[in-house]
Point group: C2
Chain length 368, copies 2
């Protein structure tokens, strides 16, 4: 296929990982990159992630067959405006990597409608606790969902062409209308972040009058507030570009809390039990219990002592078995010590491993 | 010290683990147990956890120096009434293991005030995903908080005597007034359970009109709804016996959501950023980041390939290093594959381990 020039704007975790993954799938492509700060530019160049870098976004844009805006949402909106002023290659393919889609797609349609360009919104659903080109990871998108949101500037074949450019990501490509994308993510990502931060704020305030709040926070509270530690800037711009959907979820949630409060006020034991049981059934049924290529979780729980190399000893017994996940102290209502949970890919590995651990250790072994 | 007769009512996870741990600390004590179902009675007897068992609660009560009610909350309330009708040893020490304290302490005071008995409420803050005597674990309470809530029937020395009985638990004993216990736990445990189940319910309902909700639920949503899988019966009785405190937290939380909604409605970027940033600072400051005997988390993040024995290989490199925790795919905003997080007890182990992994593997290594 024809060699292409790919221009990646932004060498953060996403942009630099895109560079590595595109190169893996399309080694002949020429990859150019823009980044504001010098550090990530130098790393990308030194590590051979890209062929050339610039701190002047406009400089490389006219050279590109594909322009990928891997930038914060507000900057993505600004750069779409900049692109509308530049002389670009005919039929240049422009996309982005923002966490919200409706506003970006609308802005692209408004800025670029009269230009001979193509645009499709993009959202690679992958992230990390680290950032910058230093964290670049060619495997970042493997088995992750990569959402394409078409625009009026998306032509037949546009998305297929993007998939070809991004084939090295080994991602799960999905097409989803921008508005629907923002509704779904408001429910499973954006609003839950507000919940987590609000719960953390509430507990932080409560602690002033009830100091033991600080000490008793256990596994459940830890789980529920974990994402409150996310980077505030990104989430601020996500909220601001998906307001209506998030506000609707907040209002709906308040009504749900009111319903539970009413059950509690009138002490409706049966209805409260049904509430908890329904939530339990729903979660058990959700894809939460699935992983890429894994139909469901097969978990073994091993009561390990707090000793050096206890985990190592178990993994040595299970050598050659593929492990999906391993953790201690999760999945529990309250803090407990030393429950090692190992997740296998299938029932056979689970049962074989349980047998091995039982026969070779004195540890308690539970299956789920 | 004088040999004591301990009577444990209920051989669930808590009761049977209490039996093992009391025996570990006070091997001379005689331990009697009540359980309704035969299965756990047989296991406790066969495994030598207890000296004798009964399915008639009243039968052994008169023999006991210490009576521990390790039962569901409602049954605990009922058995306090039963105890008030029995001829017990003079100064018998009665306690419980319920997850809420005010109602149980009040019931004990009401039932037993005219009897020559002593009562102190108890709450061992430990749990597991498993139940019954089959799951009995002598280490279950190690380093866990064990709360004593005094009553009008708690005399000088009563709590000290309980600590002596329970010395084998190696728990962190704390004294906390019953009402305060219920306030603190409403914030860090009871209300968060309502949040988790409500979020799960909301997403389950949303999914009907927005099917991708099912597929995009990622790490953050998983974390926030994990406890929605807890056993409904226990949480129903917890809610019903801590209504006022939980209802107050729910009302307070709705007000917090309203405040965030107002910021969002008027697009107050600075205030939204402050909201997220404050929650982030609060969580980082909370004891969440501490474990028993561990001042703080020392985490290494290793980008491991999805290969058999990849984790084993790393632990072999780190042989002899004490590992506090190990997990994959946690602490991330969205699903990513293969970030192995290992938590060490101190900075030295962390840096030594990072050096070893960097020198002996090609994996990316991040420190936090």
């Amino acid at each position: 296929m024809p060699k292409k020039v790919i221009y990646i704007a932004g060498l953060g975790l996403i942009g630099s990982s895109l560079a590595l993954a595109i190169k893996r799938g399309q080694p002949d492509y020429e990859i150019l990159a823009y980044n504001r700060s010098q550090e990530s530019r130098d790393i990308a160049l030194k590590e051979g992630m890209v062929h050339a870098v610039t701190d002047d976004f406009a400089a490389f844009a006219p050279l590109a067959d594909v322009i990928i805006l891997a930038l914060p949402i507000q900057q993505t909106l600004d750069f779409l405006e900049v692109l509308s002023q530049l002389e670009l290659k005919d039929k240049v393919l422009i996309t982005d990597a923002g966490s919200t889609k409706a506003q970006i797609v609308a802005e692209a349609e408004a800025c670029l409608q009269d230009r001979p360009v193509r645009f499709v919104g993009g959202h690679p659903m992958a992230g990390s606790h680290k950032s910058g080109a230093i964290a670049a990871d060619v495997t970042l998108f493997e088995n992750a969902y990569y959402i394409f949101s078409p625009s009026s500037l998306t032509q037949p074949g546009t998305i297929e062409e993007m998939k070809e450019v991004l084939v090295g990501l080994k991602a799960r490509f999905i097409e989803l209308e921008a508005g629907e994308h923002d509704l779904v993510t408001s429910q499973i990502s954006h609003f839950p972040h507000i919940l987590a931060s609000s719960l953390m704020e509430q507990a932080g305030h409560y602690r002033k009058d009830h100091p033991m709040t600080q000490h008793f926070a256990a596994g459940g509270f830890r789980d529920m507030t974990r994402i409150a530690e996310s980077e505030p800037g990104m989430w601020t711009s996500i909220l601001l570009t998906n307001r209506a959907a998030i506000l609707e979820r907040m209002e709906d949630f308040k009504n749900r809390l009111d319903q539970v409060a009413q059950l509690l006020q009138r002490g409706d034991e049966e209805a409260i039990w049904q509430f908890f049981n329904h939530g339990r059934e729903l979660r058990k049924a959700m894809e939460i219990h699935k992983r890429a290529g894994v139909d469901s979780f097969y978990d073994i729980f091993i009561n390990v002592p707090d000793e050096e190399d206890a985990i190592l000893g178990i993994l040595e017994l299970l050598r050659g078995t593929s492990i999906v996940n391993i953790r201690i102290n999760e999945e529990n209502r309250e803090d407990i010590n030393g429950i090692l949970q190992i997740t296998f890919k299938n029932r056979e590995d689970l049962e074989k491993s349980a047998k091995i651990v039982r026969e070779n250790t004195k540890y308690q072994v539970f299956l789920d």
